[in-house]
């Protein structure tokens, strides 16, 4: 809002690269200010846009003939305008942080559930297999003749 003293502004600029929370706080506050401005906006009187456009066209940088020639246009075609982005972080709304945390926790819960049911399934499979083996052995024992009776 332009209320910081020069010392405070300089201190903030020094600390910004080291503390991402500061940039995040600045971004959040900027977003809130813009939202407030949109909610409380009052349109200017009609004709203001045209006045601004006419005034901007009168600026020397705009009126300079070399800016209007084809040569300048072709020269500027290859000209690279460097727009320096000072931030190394992307900006998202703060509610995305909560959403990502919830999705992360949900994913972990689902993974734990999957592992639990998979292990249970494997155990059940092993129990079933051992029961089948036991049944086969029992059947074989019933079908095979008694060797002692045959010898007598």
């Amino acid at each position: 809002m332009g209320l910081a003293s020069p010392e405070e502004a300089a201190q903030l600029e020094r600390l910004l690269p080291f503390y991402s929370e500061l940039q995040s706080a600045i971004s959040d506050f900027s977003f809130q200010l813009e939202l407030y401005a949109i909610q409380h906006e009052e349109p200017p009187p009609p004709g203001v846009f045209e006045k601004i456009r006419d005034r901007v066209r009168e600026l020397p940088a705009v009126r300079d003939p070399t800016y209007r020639s084809n040569e300048r246009t072709s020269k500027r075609a290859g000209e690279y305008i460097h727009v320096r982005e000072s931030s190394t972080h992307i900006r998202v709304h703060k509610y995305w942080r909560i959403a990502f945390i919830c999705i992360f926790i949900l994913a972990k819960l689902l993974l734990a559930g999957f592992l639990f049911f998979y292990i249970s399934f494997r155990r059940s499979q092993q129990d079933l297999q051992s029961l089948r083996d036991q049944q086969v052995k029992t059947n074989k024992a019933r079908l095979s003749p008694d060797p002692q009776d045959g010898d007598k």
Binding site: S5, L16, A37, I38, P44
Partner: protein, 131 residues
């Protein structure tokens, strides 16, 4: 958006309109600085607009905004409705009238750090209300 912002300094619509045209024409050639700033474009516009308005007011030697009008709730000042009268006074004098902290400290008979603390508290209240 910027028109409403300007009107908190200059209630007259005609004067606010002239200021808006003047501000945009002066800032048009300085937009590269806006991109280099760590602030959003609109916040940068607000800060620069305020500087120009206060500068013009200083050149005219007048304070268009009424000094003692605590009952007028406009724009950001309305976010400090529930704050103490001292907080509202500090914010109004510094933000709207462009007075320095030293001047207010002298007037209030306190030190500059006290005024700084009050201003910081105002910002916290505004930030909380906006959030």
């Amino acid at each position: 958006m910027l028109f409403s912002y300007i009107q908190q300094f200059v209630p007259s619509r005609i004067e606010a309109e002239n200021l808006l045209v003047s501000i945009f024409s002066r800032l048009a050639s300085r937009l590269e600085a806006a991109f280099a700033s760590s602030l959003s474009i609109y916040c940068w516009l607000q800060i620069e607009a305020r500087k120009m308005i206060l500068e013009q007011r200083g050149q005219q030697g007048s304070t268009v905004y009424p000094k003692e009008s605590a009952e007028v709730k406009t724009y950001y000042s309305s976010l400090l409705e529930e704050a103490s009268s001292e907080h509202q006074w500090v914010f109004r004098e510094i933000f709207l009238n462009g007075r320095q902290r030293e001047e207010l400290a002298q007037q209030a008979g306190k030190d500059q750090a006290y005024i700084g603390d009050l201003l910081r508290e105002c910002m916290l209240i505004i930030r909380k209300k906006l959030g």
